[in-house]
């Protein structure tokens, strides 16, 4: 029977922290790039000459899964967490921009019409209608991507892009399943904690603003 090597929990904790850092930075930077791109991709705000090319670029970015982006960046910038962060950014940009432009396109046309009828500029329309009407969805997507990116970051180490995945693949290759199990337990606990935190944030900030009601956390 495989013995779980509990003394490795310290190493696992610090490598998990590195993974979370990668996911956090990747998510924040990716989302910051994705938001303006989502505005340029929305059909109800732009002409086809603007949204067409931007959507094509986003589709090209989404073609590769994050593990392929990681392999590409490992070749370009070398082994380590930086390649992992770049891969997460690319993946986040492709997906969040798509999800967000779909949200923008489904914004109720009544506030858009009411504010447009005043003769405001497009930037004012974005600031006063698009931002507040899509903010809760945007926060929701950000949480989802962070959750997803933590899981993704855990395996990017397989191709040498840093994080806890590096240790998991190393121990599996050497048939050290007891050691690999320790790292996998840490990943599981982290994902459960993040999932729990996401639910709390959604209840407090997102459901309330989407439905105009308070949700009592149980």
């Amino acid at each position: 029977m495989t013995h779980i090597e509990t003394e490795l929990f310290g190493v696992a904790f610090w490598s998990m922290l590195e993974t979370i850092q990668m996911a956090f930075i990747g998510t924040i930077v990716g989302v910051a790039i994705a938001f303006p791109l989502s505005i340029l991709s929305a059909r109800n705000l732009n002409s086809k000459y603007v949204y067409g090319p931007v959507r094509a670029i986003l589709a090209a970015i989404r073609t590769f899964p994050s593990i392929l982006w990681a392999m590409l960046f490992v070749i370009m910038v070398g082994l380590g967490t930086f390649a992992g962060v770049l891969a997460i950014i690319m993946y986040t940009v492709g997906f969040v921009a798509k999800l967000q432009y779909e949200v923008i396109e489904t914004i109720d046309s009544d506030p858009m019409d009411a504010v447009s009828s005043i003769g405001v500029s497009k930037w004012q329309l974005i600031r006063y209608v698009v931002f507040p009407e899509s903010a809760s969805h945007f926060l929701s997507q950000m949480l989802y991507m962070f959750d997803y990116n933590v899981r993704q970051s855990s395996i990017l180490g397989i191709v040498g892009a840093g994080g806890i995945g590096f240790y998991i693949i190393k121990h599996i290759e050497f048939f050290e399943y007891g050691k690999a199990t320790v790292f996998m337990i840490v990943v599981l606990i982290t994902v459960l904690i993040i999932d729990w935190g996401s639910v709390k944030i959604r209840d407090k900030y997102i459901i309330k603003s989407q439905h105009g009601m308070e949700v009592t956390a149980k």
Binding site: D108, D113, V115, I118, G119, V120, W123, Q124, Y128, G212
Partner: protein, 271 residues
């Protein structure tokens, strides 16, 4: 007829003119057909008709949100079209309250009201929501006027139906408008609240010498508050009534009593 609904100082300048205006969804189905309207500056004009008669389309033609497929429209000598730069500047002074009100639910009452002032603000100023002190004071004054003093920081989704209508009116008044277009804004309200909102608009109209064009479903309400009432049915104007004090004049068929007009409208609605 209430005191607030009488307007003595009315200019004869034609601020809105529609000649033979038609709009169609396709070559066979017309939303409006051969509409002629001439509205004097300062008039309280009501458009009444059953659901689907084209009342809201008329308003959207007046603020440039829609363009006619046939005929001409002039708003203060300008053709309403969002691509017309001169008209776009004029849009700053046309307050429009859609039936759904068009409020931004996740922002405060004050911010919703400040939207009316956006054409007067610079890009950076409006982006950072760095509103000038005098504009904030003006918004607070208008909110007090519409009875929302003390609720400036409340989010729009927290308000009652009547309060939401007051915010939409405040947003329109914040534009310092010359024309106010309102689409059935009291149709879902109880009798008392509906009169409160109508009195509010009538008072604002009197103070600001506004031209108000209001779409109603309720003929009684239209006769109570308007100087002129157009009845629209199946995309056509079937009647236009001038209201002077307590008497009603049908310019097409001669003098009619209020009861006769009501009876006619009632018959039109049933068809």
């Amino acid at each position: 007829m209430t005191a607030s609904s009488s307007f003595s100082e009315i200019s004869t300048k034609k601020i809105i003119q529609m000649n033979d205006v038609s709009t169609s969804y396709d070559s066979k189905n017309y939303a409006l057909h051969g509409i002629n309207l001439s509205i004097d500056k300062g008039t309280n004009y009501a458009i009444v008709g059953p659901s689907g008669s084209g009342k809201s389309t008329l308003l959207k033609l007046m603020n440039g949100m829609m363009t006619p497929s046939k005929g001409t429209i002039k708003i203060d000598y300008q053709t309403p079209n969002m691509n017309n730069k001169k008209f776009k500047i004029m849009m700053h002074k046309i307050g429009y309250i859609p039936q759904s009100l068009g409020l931004i639910k996740n922002i405060s009452v004050l911010e919703n009201t400040m939207i009316g002032a956006l054409p007067r603000l610079g890009i950076i100023q409006s982006f950072l929501k760095n509103f000038p002190e005098e504009e904030i004071n003006e918004a607070k004054r208008i909110l007090k006027l519409v009875g929302l003093s003390g609720k400036e920081e409340r989010k729009a989704y927290m308000l009652s139906g009547g309060e939401k209508r007051r915010v939409a009116i405040a947003r329109a008044l914040m534009q310092k408008p010359t024309i106010l277009l309102a689409d059935e804004i009291v149709s879902e309200l109880d009798h008392v609240t509906a009169r409160e909102i109508m009195n509010l608009i009538a008072d604002a109209q009197k103070q600001m010498n506004l031209t108000a064009i209001m779409v109603h479903h309720d003929m009684q309400l239209a006769l109570e508050y308007a100087n002129r009432v157009a009845v629209v049915k199946e995309g056509q104007k079937v009647l236009e009534i001038g209201v002077e004090g307590d008497s009603i004049v049908d310019f097409q068929t001669g003098d009619l009593t209020t009861e006769e007009i009501m009876e006619m409208y009632s018959d039109e609605s049933k068809k």
